[in-house]
């Protein structure tokens, strides 16, 4: 993968900036010392993790102290950042250039959950909680846990205040934004009757507990017993009563993280590819963020195709290819004709892909004219080292500005 490809691709990406859309200036965003958190969200398979890593590296090489929190990186990408094991601790990524520093970590849900328990409960109680079978399943990460824990970890990293920029990658699903609901959900759960019911003494339907509750509750607790069976219900009740005291703290933390996300200094980036499904999901994310007044910085559109020969249309290229294949030419060899025809067909395919991508992007841009967009050219291979990430970073950054600031090759 040469940077030359990046350079040809660049001209195409730059050319689109004038099309009525606002450009998203990543460099200004990451150079601003006021930017403390960048959250990358989007559907799976659009290069979200790569984008997060590339932004982290670029920010570090432009002088900031950065930590990248990834959720589930592809193995080789993880290795490229020196993350061979999942251990929930930020580690320095070697081989970066300049004064800044890049650290990276992979989220370990169970450990993060354990840390929350340890932080909020007395040692004995924490031990009891962690031995509870219900807790063990919960923390092993069913749907939803990952989202909560990613946000919990973000809160922790921010509170540590060891970095001046945190870049977060979110889980690859629609529920990635579920964390936005966490505080209100926890709130209504804690204030609700379910919790009172579950924290009532394990003897379901016992008079002491039910005294405060209306008749309907007796029916319900009986029903719960019937559904869960006595043993599971008692596991759940033990868990809930053991965690009762820490729920308050947990809720407070969720609230704080939520406020942190809304606060100045946080920027959300929605990542997508120029395909219908990916942009539909992107629209969903944009709407969802707007609903909660979350600060959206813009859209990163990955894998956009371009050509160095825009003057040659698909139609003309195809017609010429057909003419070469069918009629031949007076002086060229058959071999040259076949090769030339192949090149022309490739070009036609490329131009058609570009047209489709442009249509899809324009549809999005006409619905969301205020969302700044940065396009990142498609590279032919996968990324698995810092050079690859750096190339992506160059494509993300301002086109004209070559990294002029940072000193040369690491000292």
């Amino acid at each position: 993968m040469s940077t030359g490809e990046g350079a040809t691709a660049k001209s195409g990406a730059g050319a689109t900036a004038g099309g009525g859309m606002t450009g998203l200036d990543i460099d200004t965003l990451i150079d601003d010392p006021g930017t403390r958190i960048v959250v990358c969200c989007g559907s799976g398979g659009v290069g979200k993790t790569t984008t997060a890593a590339a932004i982290g590296l670029r920010a570090a090489e432009r002088g900031r102290r950065v930590v990248v929190l990834t959720i589930d990186p592809a193995r080789r990408l993880a290795q490229s950042m020196g993350l061979s094991e999942l251990d929930n601790t930020p580690r320095v990524v070697g081989g970066t250039r300049g004064e800044g520093e890049l650290q990276a970590m992979m989220l370990d849900m169970k450990r993060t959950f354990d840390e929350v328990v340890l932080a909020h409960a007395e040692p004995d109680r924490a031990k009891a909680i962690m031995e509870n079978p219900f807790y063990q399943s919960l923390s092993a990460g069913f749907a939803g846990t990952q989202e909560y824990m990613a946000m919990e970890k973000l809160g922790q990293l921010r509170a540590e205040d060891r970095w001046d920029l945190i870049v977060v990658d979110t889980p690859p699903s629609r529920s990635a934004l579920d964390f936005l609901d966490a505080p209100s959900r926890l709130g209504s759960f804690l204030d609700g009757r379910v919790i009172r019911l579950l924290t009532a003494p394990a003897k379901v339907g016992g008079r002491s507990a039910m005294k405060f509750l209306n008749v309907g509750m007796g029916l319900i607790s009986g029903t719960l017993g019937k559904i869960f069976g006595a043993q599971l219900l008692s596991d759940i009740q033990t868990f809930v009563s053991a965690t009762d005291s820490m729920f308050g703290g947990f809720r407070e933390r969720a609230d704080r993280t939520y406020q942190l996300l809304k606060a100045e200094g946080t920027a959300f980036l929605v990542v997508a590819a120029p395909e219908r499904d990916a942009l539909r999901e992107a629209a969903y994310f944009v709407d969802r963020l707007a609903e909660d007044d979350m600060p959206l910085a813009g859209l990163v559109l990955n894998r956009v195709h371009s050509t160095g020969a825009p003057q040659l249309t698909a139609e003309r290229a195809l017609a010429a290819a057909e003419a070469l294949e069918e009629n031949g030419t007076p002086h060229s060899t058959a071999e040259a004709e076949t090769l030339a025809a192949g090149l022309l067909r490739l070009h036609a395919e490329r131009v058609q892909v570009m047209a489709r991508e442009r249509r899809t992007r324009n549809r999005f841009a006409s619905v969301y004219p205020d969302v700044p967009i940065v396009e990142v050219a498609a590279l032919p291979g996968d990324i698995h080292d810092l050079d690859g990430l750096r190339a992506i970073g160059d494509l993300l950054g301002s086109p004209t500005e070559r990294p002029d600031g940072p000193p040369a090759e690491g000292s």
Binding site: S137, L138, A143, I220, F228, T333, L339, H347
Partner: protein, 360 residues
């Protein structure tokens, strides 16, 4: 069992014997962005082609099925979304099949589940009122997954009044690979938590179906490094947990236009000859003067060669990924890239391809 299928022209080959005779529940997973929903829908069409009835289940609440079949958002209700005949898939034979679809709403599924197993009546409503349903479907671990897998197994086993199966096959558009094993195994976890009682037996029953020869878990992938790696890892994980691995659906395959050798040839000695051919075929403008022609062709040459190099690099990468997939020794199906973007015509074309290659 199918080996890697070639990419012969469409519409000419007779369908193979289907590879998944006896499978009632097809679970389709894969890395995000590999076309999971599309291929699940195409598989449901293919399985119905000869006059069957299939059910396509969506679990992630994004209404991808409705989008794909170009219909209004699906309610929580099984309804017919398409009919299919062999002719529509470009195949010989007769028949008139139906694809039904269901987008699962977890809240309603929970009430239904409670009703089915506990005949709750008034208590069910009361649970909903105190927020239990809300709690269970959003906060409580695994409940969603229990409901989704339970519903799919129920549909796969359901019988009509005539004693015959309601659906010949059920296709589930499952969560992505990273979440898959946990999703499918949720019931064994539950069976471990609730060691006796109705939840326990229900969970056991679902696990029995999922582990049986009636279930096959297929993976969609692209010929790219990350999706292939995820497929390989996902299959290993699935095997470790004793779940039945199905086939590999390789999506968006593009025919190679130039191979690496050809590109090398262009790059070396033949550059001038190609320039000549491009000029001769009229890309040098109207003038006949060699300098003018050359001046027109010259700016095309480097970009075209660059595109060819990128193409060659991709072809080489794809070759390596194919080798990787072959080592899995699983039935593998290759589906062409639908260049114009996915629509109903494209969906039927993919279904025909799956049928021809023996996936249905």
């Amino acid at each position: 069992m199918a080996g890697t299928s070639g990419t012969a022209g469409p519409g000419e080959r007779a369908p193979r014997e289907p590879d998944w005779e006896g499978v009632r529940l097809h679970v389709v997973s894969g890395k995000g962005g590999t076309g999971k929903t599309t291929l699940a829908a195409a598989l449901a069409l293919a399985l119905a082609a000869e006059g069957g009835r299939t059910l396509l289940i969506e679990v992630e609440g994004r209404q991808g099925i409705a989008e794909l079949f170009q219909i209004a958002a699906l309610p929580y209700e099984e309804r017919r979304v398409a009919t299919v005949t062999p002719a529509q898939l470009g195949l010989p034979g007769k028949g008139h099949g139906e694809v039904h679809a269901l987008a699962i709403d977890t809240e309603q599924a929970l009430l239904e589940y409670l009703e089915m197993f506990y005949k709750l009546g008034r208590a069910g409503k009361a649970l909903q009122k105190v927020g239990f349903v809300d709690f269970a479907t959003t906060v409580a671990p695994g409940v969603r997954d229990v409901l989704l897998t339970g519903k799919a197994c129920e549909a796969a086993r359901r019988k009509g009044p005539d004693g015959r199966r309601r659906y010949d096959a059920v296709v589930m558009d499952a969560p992505p690979t990273g979440r898959l094993t946990r999703f499918l195994n949720v019931n064994s976890e539950v069976a471990g938590l609730a060691r006796i009682g109705p939840i326990h037996s229900q969970a056991q029953a679902v696990m029995r179906v999922l582990r049986s020869a009636e279930t096959a878990v297929h993976f969609t992938t692209l010929l790219e490094e990350m999706p292939v790696q995820e497929t390989v890892d996902g299959i290993a994980e699935l095997r470790d947990s004793g779940l039945p691995v199905g086939g590999v659906l390789v999506n968006m395959v593009r025919p190679p236009i130039l191979d690496a050798a050809a590109v090398a040839a262009v790059d070396g000695d033949h550059r001038e000859e190609v320039a000549l051919a491009l000029g001769e075929v009229g890309l040098g403008g109207r003038s006949r003067k060699p300098e003018t022609v050359r001046a027109h062709v010259e700016p095309l040459l480097d970009p075209l060669l660059e595109q060819a190099r990128e193409h060659a690099e991709r072809v080489e990468l794809e070759r390596a990924q194919r080798v990787e997939l072959q080592q899995l020794k699983l039935p593998t199906y290759e589906l062409p890239l639908i260049g114009e973007g996915m629509d109903l015509a494209g969906l039927y074309r993919l279904a025909g391809e799956l049928k021809r290659q023996g996936a249905a």
